[in-house]
Structure formats: structure tokens, C-alpha cells
């Protein structure tokens, strides 16, 4: 499988904010945040088709998200997952002794995972602490 190494940033968007205020289990929140924005050239390099799922892996974990062409332009080499549950599966907790994690500017690899399923917010968070009961 081809893979691409990119620099990841995770920040706010109005779609995320608007959906979050409806509740984090709302489908809008799922749609707004379980995506990864990339430059089309990078997608091509990694053999990723628009609107298919990819596996994003950082030094501290991985997550399945849907790759889309950027809603706000990102240059080649940079990737963006909107702030939220999916992004935080891969955000390194290292703080450079300032208290603030590395939410932006950390290396990830991204590879196609068209057959993998996206997880819901609850599944990811409850699953990570051994509380997830649903979905089996």
C-alpha cells in the first residue's frame, strides 16, 4: 500500500462548532469531524480517492477518517483534521513543558483504508477507556 507522510494540524471550523453545540452524538458532529483535509496532489501520491476512508497514524495512535479535498486550501505536505474526537486520537500529548499538547505540527502517515469503517465519537472515547458496550 502506498503511504504518505504529512504534517498534521488540527483546528476549529464553523461546521465543527455548529455541530458540537447540537451535541457530540449528533450525526452532524460525526460528519463535521471525522474527516481529513488534504491537497489533491498528496492524495494522488498516496493513491487515495476523494471521500474514501484513510488510516491516519501518528507517534501515539491511529484513527480512521474520511479523506476529502480541503474546504479551506491546504498546501501539499500539510493535512488538517478538524478539532474534536477523531483528531485527538492522534494528537501527541507532549507539551514541550508548557502544558499545551502538540495539536498542530506533528508528523503523521496517511494511507488508504477504503474498507475500514469510521467509528462514532462515543465508540472511540468509550472504547479507549474500556467502556464501549455497543456495536458488537
Amino acid at each position: 500500500m502506498p503511504k504518505i507522510s504529512l504534517n498534521m494540524i488540527t483546528q476549529r471550523s464553523i461546521e465543527e462548532g455548529a455541530a458540537m453545540e447540537k451535541g457530540k452524538t449528533n450525526p452532524d458532529y460525526f460528519d463535521a469531524c471525522s474527516i481529513c483535509e488534504m491537497h489533491p496532489d498528496d492524495m494522488k501520491k498516496a493513491g487515495i480517492w476523494k471521500n474514501t476512508n484513510v488510516l491516519v497514524t501518528s507517534e501515539c495512535g491511529s484513527v480512521i477518517v474520511k479523506a476529502i479535498t480541503a474546504t479551506q486550501y491546504v498546501p501539499p505536505g500539510l493535512a488538517h483534521i478538524r478539532q474534536g474526537v477523531w483528531a485527538n486520537q492522534v494528537v501527541p500529548p507532549r507539551t514541550q513543558s508548557t502544558g499545551t499538547p502538540q495539536y498542530s505540527g506533528f508528523p503523521v502517515t496517511i494511507e488508504p483504508a477504503p474498507d475500514e469503517k469510521l467509528k462514532t465519537a462515543l465508540q472511540l472515547v468509550q472504547g479507549s477507556v474500556g467502556l464501549w458496550k455497543g456495536g458488537q
Partner: protein
């Protein structure tokens, strides 16, 4: 007859718009219409109508399920858990009024806790920079009335603060800026071409995580020295042109955001921005402001500074004095180093917004969530205590991103039996005092209701 309430404050982002109009039902229990707010604020007000909003505390059972329990039981558990822990961490306060933040100070002192707020994962580095280099800033009205050059550095108000540009920074017509946007030059520094960058007259699309070098390049140019041909991916000429625009401004306003605080160097990016602001004040008038995320996230910084001398990451375990050193006493570091043994999440969602590894560490110990709604932090908590929503069914003082206090009102009646943050914390405090056989310390001025026999004035 439905009632239209004007001048309502919006409890979402740091813009803390207080020109919202809300139409509420005759019996003041439902929000019918929201005017003037952005899409996010509108959703927030409407979400308060959600009939499934929790009305009772919910405790996790040994089998993983949750059960509703009475408030008395929840308060007792809360108090006992705090007292039993060697070092509890009380974190959050992104969506709480200052009354709640003040009340929690009393608990934290009593519990020997670490008190931290969302700034720790957000604008905490801005505090660090402020400690080191100061903060030449102003209120948002100054930007509105005077600024003819506006710089957005590593922030994206079009998404994160949707009405910021129309109320304060780009479009409004102010006292000396009668022509609004026509009179303003807008610069945007961002590695992405965000919707804010699209609005700007000049977009400096820098290499991600090289803000510090770019700030230094601006400063070097301003002092008349030459710089390399390309700095942080920006050609020298473009840097010189932007520096000249700032220098020639009548009033230059720099707004910065997570693009500076979440990347390499953290506080130093802002530190350099502050140095640039100081330098520009040799040539013109220049101000800088952090784009604070929540409507009252400046609040804990204020309240806890006057109570303990520090805005965040306050370690009260010693009982005799407060200690602060982000990197050590900050929530994420405490979690990752397994330095706390109880976690209280108030008015925020650490479950969703902490890196997942930090959540896993914290989850090794009791986890209490205080929040009006269901969220990730409530769904993994051992105890979830619902409270009223500040700015919706609970009034209170909030501090806007420029530290201007705004007295928010309640627009609807609270759910019956559901306390405010302040009431809940006061009850927990009283319970802690009962359990430890000590007299509660109420400052008379704050706690009017605690002193029914208070002698009248002189």
C-alpha cells in the same frame, strides 16, 4: 405571549456578543427564536430546549451502566472523593460564569487540589508569554474605533469567532473608522488559505511552525537590518512590504490564535509577537490580542488571579500557598505523568478535547463531570452532575476575550431542581466542611445569603 429579550449575551465564543435577541415562550421555559447570533450561537440556544437534557446526577455502576441518583448522594460522593484524593485535578470552566469559578476556588483550597482551566490546552502559552513579556493590548472597541491595519496571525475568526470580523475587527464602522472595511488593510498569516485569509488584503502563507522566525524577520526589518531571501517560506520583499504596512498604520491591531499556541515553541511565538507589538509602538500605535476561545474563558484567568495570584495550573496542595508552573502543574502533564488521583471536569469536555492518551491516564482514577449536557466527558465519568447553563438559564458575569466583564442574563427558567455551578459547588463545600468538622469560610460580602442576621450598614 412570547417575549422578546434584547441585549442577550451569547455563551459560545470569546467574542461574547451581547446584542442577541431571544424570543422565549410565554412561560419562559422554551427558546423559540434566536436573532443576531451566528449559526453556532443559534444552535447553542436551541439545544437548551432539548427535552432529553439530564435533570438528575448519573452514577456509573460496577457493570458499566449508569443510574440516576439524587443530588444529595452526588454531592456526598463528590465531597468524599475530593477529600480522599491525594491530589485531585479540577479542570474546565470554558462554559461557566465567574460566580461558579469563584465558588470552586473554595472547594479547591479545601481539597488541596490543582485548579486548571481550558486555557491550559488553548491560550495557556499566551499566559506564559504574558508572564515573560507583558501584553500591550486594548478592548475590542479600540480595534473597532481606530484600527486601520488588522493582522490575523494563526487564527481563523471566520470559523472560530464567526461575528468577530463584523462586530469588532474588519467590517464595523467606528468613531475614527467611519468607512468600516474600506478603511482597513487586513493581513493574514496562516499556513492554510483559510476563509479569513481569503478575506485579507495580504495573505502570508508561511511554512507551518515557523512563526517565530517570521516574527523575528519582521523585527529585524523594522530595525533596519537585512534578512535572508526567504524566511519561513515567505520572500523577503513580501515581508518588507507587510512590515511597512504595519509601521505606516495609524493603529495596528494584531489578533493571534491557536496557530501560535499549538505549534512548536508555543509561548515563544506569542512572546515574539508581543516583542513585535512593542517595537511597532516606537513607530505608531499597536495592540495585540489573544483570540480567546470561549465566551468566559478569560473569566477563570481573572477570578483565580485575584484569588490565588495565578490564572491557571494552580497547585493548591500545600495549603499554605499556591504554586504554578505549566509543564508541571498543567492538566495534560499531570495526567501523562500520573500525578493526580482524581479528575473533576467542569463545563468543558476533556473526553473529546484532550489527546486520547491523557484521557486514558485520567480514567485510572475517579472521574466526575459537571455539565448541563451529555458529552464525551459525561459518558466516561463515574459521576455526571447536571447544572444550569450559564447565559441561558443562569445569569452571571463573564469576561470577553479582551477581559471586559459582561453581565449575562438568563433568558429562560432553569430546569426544576437543577442547581447552578455556584450552588452545586457551595453545597459540595458545605458537605466537605461537615465531613472534616470545620467551619466554612464565607466572605460576608460574597455570601449575603449566608448571613441573614448581617448587621445593617453603619
Amino acid at each position: 405571549m412570547p417575549k422578546l429579550i434584547k441585549g442577550v449575551g451569547c455563551p459560545y465564543c470569546g467574542s461574547s456578543c451581547d446584542d442577541i435577541e431571544v424570543l422565549v415562550s410565554d412561560d419562559e421555559t422554551r427558546i423559540l427564536e434566536v436573532h443576531n447570533a451566528c449559526i453556532i450561537g443559534t444552535n447553542l440556544f436551541h439545544h437548551a430546549n432539548d427535552p432529553t437534557r439530564p435533570r438528575l446526577p448519573r452514577q456509573r455502576q460496577p457493570d458499566g451502566s449508569v443510574k440516576e441518583i439524587p443530588y444529595e448522594e452526588a454531592i456526598d460522593y463528590f465531597a468524599k472523593t475530593l477529600l480522599a484524593a491525594k491530589k485531585p485535578l479540577i479542570y474546565g470552566f470554558g462554559s461557566t460564569n465567574c460566580e461558579g469559578m469563584s465558588a470552586v476556588g473554595r472547594i479547591a483550597e479545601k481539597a488541596g487540589a490543582v485548579l486548571d482551566n481550558c486555557a491550559t490546552i488553548c491560550h495557556g502559552p499566551s499566559f506564559l508569554a504574558m508572564f515573560d513579556n507583558g501584553y500591550p493590548s486594548c478592548t475590542l472597541g479600540e480595534a473597532k474605533n481606530r484600527a486601520d491595519v488588522v493582522v490575523f496571525w494563526g487564527c481563523n475568526p471566520m470559523h472560530a469567532h464567526p461575528r468577530h470580523t463584523s462586530r469588532y475587527s474588519i467590517f464595523p464602522r467606528g468613531y475614527f473608522t467611519q468607512k468600516g472595511q474600506m478603511q482597513r488593510t487586513v493581513l493574514c498569516v496562516d499556513p492554510r488559505e483559510t476563509d479569513t485569509a481569503k478575506l485579507a488584503d495580504h495573505h502570508l502563507m508561511l511554512d507551518q511552525s515557523h512563526d517565530y522566525e517570521l516574527f523575528d524577520a519582521f523585527r529585524t526589518v523594522l530595525r533596519g537590518f537585512d534578512i535572508p531571501e526567504v524566511v519561513a517560506g515567505i520572500p523577503r520583499e513580501k515581508i518588507k512590504e507587510a512590515a511597512e504596512i504595519m509601521k505606516k498604520a495609524k493603529f495596528c491591531m494584531i489578533f493571534f490564535g491557536m496557530g501560535c499556541t499549538h505549534t512548536d515553541g508555543r509561548n515563544h511565538n506569542i512572546d515574539a509577537a508581543i516583542s513585535l507589538t512593542r517595537d511597532l509602538n516606537e513607530h505608531t500605535k499597536c495592540s495585540i490580542m489573544a483570540m480567546r476561545g470561549h465566551y468566559n474563558i478569560a473569566g477563570p484567568g481573572q477570578v483565580w488571579s485575584w484569588q490565588f495570584g495565578f490564572p491557571y495550573c494552580i497547585d493548591l496542595t500545600k495549603g499554605s500557598h499556591a504554586h504554578m508552573n505549566p509543564g508541571e502543574t498543567s492538566s495534560i502533564d499531570l495526567a501523562m505523568r500520573d500525578e493526580v488521583d482524581c479528575f473533576v471536569n467542569v463545563g468543558t469536555d476533556a473526553g473529546a478535547h484532550f489527546p486520547i492518551q491523557a484521557v486514558q491516564h485520567l480514567k485510572k482514577h475517579p472521574w466526575i463531570t459537571v455539565d448541563p449536557n451529555f458529552c464525551m466527558a459525561s459518558e466516561i465519568a463515574d459521576l455526571h452532575i447536571p447544572v444550569r447553563i450559564a447565559g441561558v438559564d443562569e445569569p452571571g458575569v463573564v469576561y470577553r476575550m479582551d477581559n471586559v466583564p459582561i453581565q449575562f442574563r438568563a433568558v429562560i427558567k432553569g430546569l426544576p431542581g437543577v442547581p447552578s455551578d455556584e450552588e452545586l459547588f457551595d453545597m459540595v463545600y458545605e458537605r466537605m466542611c461537615e465531613l472534616t468538622n470545620t467551619a466554612p469560610i464565607w466572605l460576608a460580602a460574597k455570601e449575603d445569603r449566608k448571613y441573614p442576621q448581617n448587621p445593617a450598614v453603619i
